[in-house]
């Protein structure tokens, strides 16, 4: 039968091993106490009985002496039977009831007796008392020569027939015999009691011995088992236990030897201290000598040449007889220490990374990004020469945009991103020495002499933007930590530069006409509103390419596009820097000429027309343009100004094209009237002629209106002077 599993409780050893010890002591105490009590009580009883036996035996002598004294007195001799009679009576009373027995002349001393115990003995002593009484009364009668026949026979003796002296003799014999038998009986009982006492003491002794042996055996077995438990525990524990005595190491647990990879014998004595780190040896020796401090850390050199970090707890047991040393309980914290170091580095890096990220987020332009990179460079390493080389939008040329302000820039002579090995590889490259065989050729021949270098590519969405380049002393490249910081800087800066560039490009596209590269209508309106608001003088010109629809139809859209681009270039070149030309829509353009009135504008436009006429059109057919002009002196609102210029354009078209005409209110009204009529007719008759829409392909009202001027002109036969090829 299997009982419930027994829990191994090695540390409960104290309480469970104490139990058998206590049981042994209790058994001993019980047996000893019982034996002693038995002996004491038996001895005491025996002493009492001895006194009783003495007194009882004396009765025999006294009875015989009494008889002899009576006879002597009858012979006329000197004797004192009355004294003996008193002694007999007192003794008989004391034998029965206890008390003091008087001594007899020349015989015993005074004796004290206990009362007789047991009804047999008491009956016997009572009979003795009666016999003594009869004896003394008969004796007295004989001495006084009185008749004895009628004396009482209290002891049921039948002696009335005997003559007086014989009666005294018989009674003395009865008294004597009775006392003697009683003494004999007491002695017999005493002997039996002593035998019993002896037997029980022997039994107790043997029993106690057996029990003690059993308990001791149990105790030994338990102790052995516990010690086996502890041995197993101590051997299997991973805790490192070291005992330091006055003359060095006295004990190392198996785990210590395993950790440092050395044998026990290497570590005993002064051996252990040899493997302790020099910096830790003073505290180690202090612990060995004084047991303090109780908590400390030290390092030990393992056989693999590695420093093991140990956290130790010292317990001063030099006063303990069993140990006589300082006990170190140590834990191997090497892994933890290494992890802590890694985490600390990681934390520093993360902190730097997040601050860098925030700084870059606030940089809206490439210039600001470069500025952040410079400040980050100082934080990474103040003394390390560093520069950021970025390609321009063509991605063909590299130029330095940032450098560590604290030092001279390394000055990498690389020209193109794809000449840079770091950019080509797309990963950070570390060069130990500019002189080694596999060093980057760009590092050689620098004025600062030979050096080490770290180059980290800067890219965005897989597109190379440039390189982050640092140099250091020959043969001493930057640490892994610094390289990882530079890599992080390059990655974040690249992401930001890419974002800024994409943003700038989007901004540009929104305000630019894709075909001609000029500003669009929004750009022009914005500029006009600014000028109106400033109250400064300016001229507005609306331009329209003549017979553009015809040109498109005859020569194709590509020719039309080329014409539009040629016109744009010509106008742009002819105008001043602060003039604006923008595509209004279709083949119509708007020009804003600050600080000119409408007449001065006509002069400018004449020059434009001349330039256009001599411009080399390439495959593009020659074409002309018409211009309508207004100025800020003519109206105050943007719509009005444009309306007047539109009137000028209408007039120019009507007057035969290829000219510039100043608009006025009349021509504007005329143009409006014509337009309304045309709009109505053409809406009834034919759909609107096909024309290029604006950038989004949606015809605007302005566009439709402009095209209608042209439609109106188309009705007239083309002037003979205009050649359309």
């Amino acid at each position: 039968m299997l009982g419930p599993a027994k829990a191994m409780k090695p540390f409960a050893v104290a309480s469970s091993s104490r139990a058998p010890v206590i049981a042994i002591f209790l058994t001993f105490a019980l047996i000893s106490a019982t034996t002693i009590a038995l002996s004491v009580s038996a001895t005491k009883a025996s002493q009492h009985r001895t006194s009783v036996i003495q007194v009882a035996a004396r009765q025999r002598t006294l009875a015989e002496r009494y008889l002899a004294e009576i006879l002597l007195v009858r012979e006329g001799k000197q004797a004192n039977p009355a004294y003996t009679a008193r002694a007999l009576t007192a003794s008989a009373t004391s034998l029965l009831e206890g008390g003091t027995v008087p001594g007899v002349n020349g015989d015993d001393d005074e004796t004290s007796l206990p009362p007789a115990d047991g009804h047999v003995l008491r009956a016997q002593f009572a009979q003795e008392q009666r016999l003594v009484a009869d004896l003394t009364s008969t004796g007295q009668a004989v001495l006084l020569h009185r008749p004895t026949a009628n004396l009482p026979q209290t002891a049921h003796e039948h002696v009335s027939q005997l003559e007086p002296v014989m009666r005294v003799r018989v009674l003395a014999a009865l008294t004597s015999s009775n006392a003697f038998r009683a003494a004999q009986e007491i002695g017999r009982v005493d002997e039996a009691n002593l035998n019993n006492l002896l037997k029980s003491q022997v039994l107790l002794g043997v029993g106690g011995l057996l029990v003690t042996l059993l308990l001791a055996a149990g105790l030994l077995a338990t102790a052995r088992r516990k010690s086996a438990h502890f041995r197993s525990l101590a051997l299997s524990a991973s805790d490192l236990v070291i005992v330091l005595g006055a003359r060095g190491c006295r004990y190392v647990s198996r785990s210590v030897a395993a950790m440092v990879g050395r044998s026990d014998s290497d570590l005993y004595g002064e051996g252990l201290a040899r493997f302790v780190h020099d910096e830790d040896r003073p505290v180690f020796e202090a612990v060995q000598a004084t047991g303090a401090p109780s908590q400390f850390s030290f390092r030990m050199l393992s056989s693999a040449g590695e420093w093991r970090h140990l956290d130790a707890h010292a317990t001063d047991l030099r006063a303990d007889r069993n140990l006589r040393g300082v006990v170190l309980h140590a834990r191997d914290t090497t892994d933890r220490v290494q992890l802590e170091q890694q985490l600390t580095a990681q934390l520093q890096r993360d902190g730097f990374a997040s601050r860098l990220g925030e700084a870059l987020e606030m940089a809206d332009e490439e210039r600001e990004v470069a500025n952040v990179v410079e400040r980050a460079a100082i934080e990474i390493s103040e003394q390390t020469p560093m520069e950021l080389l970025l390609s321009d939008s063509s991605r063909a040329n590299l130029a330095r945009v940032a450098s560590n302000p604290g030092t001279e820039a390394p000055g990498c002579p690389v020209k193109s991103p794809f000449s840079c090995v770091a950019v080509r590889r797309g990963t950070a490259v570390v060069f130990d020495s500019s002189e080694s065989l596999n060093a980057c050729p760009q590092l050689r021949g620098r004025t600062s002499g030979s050096c080490s270098a770290v180059c980290v590519p800067v890219s965005f969405m897989g597109r190379a933007l440039g390189v982050l380049h640092t140099t250091g002393p020959e043969g001493e490249p930057l640490s892994g930590k610094t390289v990882s910081q530079l890599t992080m800087l390059a990655a974040q800066a690249g992401a930001r530069i890419g974002t800024v560039r994409a943003f700038e490009k989007t901004q540009l596209q929104a305000s630019t006409d894709g075909l001609t590269g000029l500003g669009n209508r929004r750009t022009a309106e914005k500029r006009l509103r600014e000028l109106i608001k400033s109250g400064r003088l300016f001229a507005v010109v609306l331009a329209d390419l003549d017979r553009f629809k015809q040109l498109n139809d005859t020569n194709g859209h590509e020719a039309g596009d080329r014409a539009l681009r040629l016109f744009s270039q010509t106008v742009t070149q002819a105008l001043r820097d602060n003039d604006l030309v923008a595509r209004w829509g279709g083949e119509e353009f708007v020009m804003v000429l600050p600080e000119l009135d409408r007449f001065q504008a006509i002069e400018v436009l004449d020059r434009v027309r001349r330039d256009l006429a001599v411009a080399h059109p390439g495959e593009t057919p020659r074409f002309t343009a018409s211009f309508g002009v207004s100025d800020s002196g003519q109206a105050e609102s943007l719509e009005e100004l444009l309306h007047i210029a539109d009137g000028g354009l209408y007039a120019a078209k009507k007057a035969g094209r290829d000219r510039a005409t100043v608009g006025d209110c009349e021509s504007a009204a005329q143009a409006k009237k014509e337009e309304a009529a045309r709009l109505m007719d053409s809406a009834e008759a034919t759909p609107l002629p096909e024309s290029p829409g604006d950038q989004n392909g949606i015809p605007t009202v302005r566009h439709a209106r402009a095209s209608m001027h042209e439609a109106a002109y188309e009705e007239d036969p083309p002037p003979s002077g205009v050649q359309i090829r």
Partner: protein
């Protein structure tokens, strides 16, 4: 508690139990022993100082069951006599047992008060005297006559 301790205590209990049973067995022993009476029983009462017994029996084997009623020790001696008078020793106090030894079918040494003892004898027809010959007992009246027919 640990098994060794339990075992030890168990052994201790067994030891005491065995001791107790042993003691009881010893105590019972006396009552189981004793001679079995093979003849007719003659009850005899002894006391201070008398012997009470039947005055006549038929010849044959008898077991005298002698009860000492006390309070003192008493002997029991049976002796044949022709005259009915027993010779005394020179002290004049006790019967001269040596001279009548051959006439004694049997005797019991002094017994403690309360004791009951058996004496089995083969009685031939004749006169017998039952008596106690302790100092003065015979003289104090401890004798009785038995006639065996």
């Amino acid at each position: 508690m640990d098994w060794t301790v339990v075992n030890a205590l168990r052994a201790l209990a067994a030891f005491w139990a065995a001791g107790l049973l042993g003691a009881l067995a010893v105590g019972c022993d006396d009552s189981a022993r004793g001679p079995r009476p093979t003849a007719s029983i003659v009850p005899v009462a002894e006391g201070d100082f008398h012997i009470t017994a039947p005055s006549s029996v038929r010849a044959g084997g008898y077991t005298f069951r002698v009860h000492n009623e006390g309070p003192t020790h008493h002997e029991f001696i049976i002796v044949g006599t022709r005259t009915g008078v027993l010779p005394l020793r020179p002290d004049g106090l006790t019967v001269d047992e040596e001279s009548i030894e051959r006439l004694e079918p049997g005797s019991l040494v002094p017994g403690a008060p309360g004791a009951v003892r058996n004496l089995t004898v083969l009685l031939k027809p004749g006169r017998y005297i039952l008596f106690c010959n302790m100092e003065g007992h015979f003289m104090a009246g401890m004798h009785a006559e038995l006639v065996v027919a």
